[in-house]
Amino acid sequence: MSARTSVEKQAEPIEGSRFFGRLWRGRVVVVTALCVVVVLALSVLGILAGSSSLSFSDVVVTLLGGGTSGQELIVFDLRLPRVVGGVAVGAALGLAGALTQTFARNPLATPDILGVTSGAALGAVAAIVLAGGSYSVAAGLLSLGLPAVAAIGALLTAAVVYGLAWRGGVDSYRLILIGIGATAALGGITSYLIARAQITEAAAAAQWLVGSLSGISWASVWPVLVVLLVVTPIAVLQSSSLDISQLGDDLSTGLGVAVQRHRVVVIMCAVLLTAAAVSASGPIEFVAFVAPQIARRMARTGRPPLLASALMGAVIVVGGDALVRGVLPGEVPVGIITAIIGAPYLIWLLTRRKERESYA
């Protein structure tokens, strides 16, 4: 362990902030605070970045209500929803990832393995592709809006996966295997739909599948914010049970955790967060996987810290989107950037896993 820990131990051997020491190690607080600062800074950058150049003072004046109507349109209806949406989507994915990685005790267990993402993708792609044909059902669905259709697909799939995994209780391992199976099957159907679609619809579907904040509006940001505000406190209340659950189902029960109830709550939180995020922006790759792992390494905790993971997700998505708009030419979807950063990280994590088993 680090030198810091042993120094701290000498400073307060028994008493003092042991409660804090358990739930809120000093390092977690620092990392969380740091993430807040970075998210705020990137958000400001995000509001500034874009094709029509607004100066910092223009933006501040507009935010305070003194801008021209053109400036107001750009700031309030284009850039602000995109930045707030990025924060919300990133936070939802980061928190969902922290929850699934913790309950499955496996850093590779992202919310995708619950089938949520592939369900959302199938819903959205089906709506896009089939609406082009003369299927009235699909047209009806699409009239609900693409996010709603994606959310329905996500929740239905999660329910089916959970139902199939149920055998007088849900075992994490079984749930993951069934989730992977569902993901593969739904992915196949999605590919089939795209393959037989008209070229314009296929392009639209492919674009949705990459995950992007470019089309986001307040209408799709609000649901994510609401889900985040409702789910985050529920998830945080599960913190101590999440700690205990790392000891396995038997010992957790012995220590007074109602394991199955706890698991249902955690999974529902992860599913709602992922469904909300994916519906709003499409699947932004690797955020749910990478954010909790970075947060955990920075905070040096046994499992991903929940709030820090959420904030780290926000940092990645908002930062990636600012990069896409401010630095890169053309409109590269943010999902491409996160995949380009995330995939090498995954490989690095896998190669490192052996040497540092305890942190993997």
Partner: protein, 283 residues
Amino acid sequence: MTATSVPQAASPTAGAPALEARGVTLSYEKTSIFENLDLRIEEGEVTTLIGANGSGKSTLLKAFGRLLVPSAGSMELGGQPLRSLPTRAVAKQLAILPQKPVTPSATTVRDLVSRGRHPHQSLFQPWTPSDSRVVNESLAATGLSELADRDTASLSGGQLQRAWIALVLAQQSPIILLDEPTTFLDLSHQLDVLRLVRSINRERGATVVMVLHDLTLAGRYSDRLVVVGEGKVIADGKPWEVLTPEVLRRAFDLEALVIADPTSGSPLIVPVDPDDHRIELGT
């Protein structure tokens, strides 16, 4: 390791609630391991379950610890069905160390042991100095004070086993269930753990139910032995009543001599290998 320093219970709980199996059937999927089993654990005693591999010792212990729900009959704690009691309330009465706990990653020994305090905490009952004291006492009792800040992943098998025992001690429950608490331990540490168990039993009045494989140690440190096999209790009683060549033959398919241990007077089991030359004992 000072086996004598036992974590002081907040109130030395005399009279642990009784633990009793009433006509229980214990099964996995379709195969039932025990049918219609009755077994009462006497309060304030050290009861050890012995039996061959796969005979159902862990199954029985898990049922007493509510980790396995009987398919028929009921497990009772203080006269009430275990299933009807809130799991956190049970956790204050009863601690169980399963045979195969999962070692968490990037966790220090102290953190691990601290989790034993979980049943005593809630949103409105945060960590207090007395929780820290209990954790420190549990670490000291298992000889882990020096290793408190080590990562659990870096411990030897025996050190880790002692950390699990410390966790269970920190739970401070009047009933303690231990599945093979001495596995991975060298003989001297096995003795330490068993002496610790006995001192918790004597000083705190704790009821202990454990599974052991070393029959001699089981006989030496238990008030009562329960031999399981053939899907039922084969023998049940004081060590000298139970550890007879007949019972050993039936339960373990083992030929053995049972003689008095010259240091403790408890039964000493000497397995007989037919290939060895028989040496006339004593006379």
